[in-house]
């Protein structure tokens, strides 16, 4: 094939660019969902702490 190296280089760049175009949004979605999960876990933990504190306070009051 004439100019084989040029053709290979051009197609390789095209495929790599499209691969990155495929991977990049998936990485961003994964990161956003990871953040959302962490945020949800923190909220759950805060809620848990709050309910523990209020039940302790109630017990104190009852005594």
């Amino acid at each position: 094939m004439d100019y084989r190296n040029y053709v290979i280089a051009a197609y390789a760049f095209f495929i790599l660019a499209l691969l990155w175009d495929f991977i990049a949004p998936r990485m961003r979605i994964r990161q956003s969902l990871h953040d959302a999960r962490r945020q949800a876990a923190q909220q759950d933990a805060a809620r848990q702490r709050h309910s523990n504190t209020s039940s302790t306070n109630n017990n104190e009051l009852q005594r």
């Binding site: 094939m1 040029y6 979605i29 999960r37 909220q43």
Partner: protein, 263 residues
Amino acid sequence: MNRVTRWFHQLGSPPYFDRFAARWAPWLYAVGALVMLWGIWQGLFVVPSDYQQGDSFRILYIHVPSAWMSMAVFGLMAVYAAIALIWRIKLCEILAMACAPIGAWFTLITLVTGSIWGKPMWGTWWDWDPRLTTELILLFLYLGVIGLYHAIDDRRTAARAAALLAIVGVVLLPIIRYSVVWWHSLHQGQTISLFGESKMDASMLPPLWAMVIGTHVWFGGSLLARARADNIRRESGKDWVSRLGREKPAQDASNEPASKGAR
């Protein structure tokens, strides 16, 4: 309200759009990739080589569809940007900003593959030819839109500023298109015509059309995936995103009916 109108209204809802994008992006990617694979196979191994350019003309099968996409995506981005500015539709802001990186990639592919083709054919990697120069300016415009969108903290203000740049930038598209007509320079004139007769031999055209269709369908998948990513990021903290995060702990963004949690 008929079904289509209702569907458009529903699409404006972030959780609904998330479900829509998660469902359709992988299909568009897959169909686009398959069509392009067929085009690449035909373009590399089936179509005969050119009598003057030899095999280097095969670069055209990725260069031309990418060049068309680079301009079409910018046009579409400007349309979304105008809708977002006029009617303040958040989804259109997201879609406009999702167009920018995809268009930038296609522009970069156009410039790089053109340069690789230019070395054996023109004897140089680069020339300040009007077509090449305007395409380079298009890349800078894309980068400007992306940069502006990420430079401002408030997403909506950022999107509006970037949208304005996208609309102004549209003036470049006819200059790119007609640069080979207005200035007879190094870059060849129009060889392939969408509606008229092409100057290429008919046997060389099917892989080109396959690549044109494939890149368009791929773009659809990429647009939905990128818009979905931005949509989730903008909506972080909302209940539906938290549910999505909770219910898909080990899964990547894998886009299968991903957003059951949002229902």
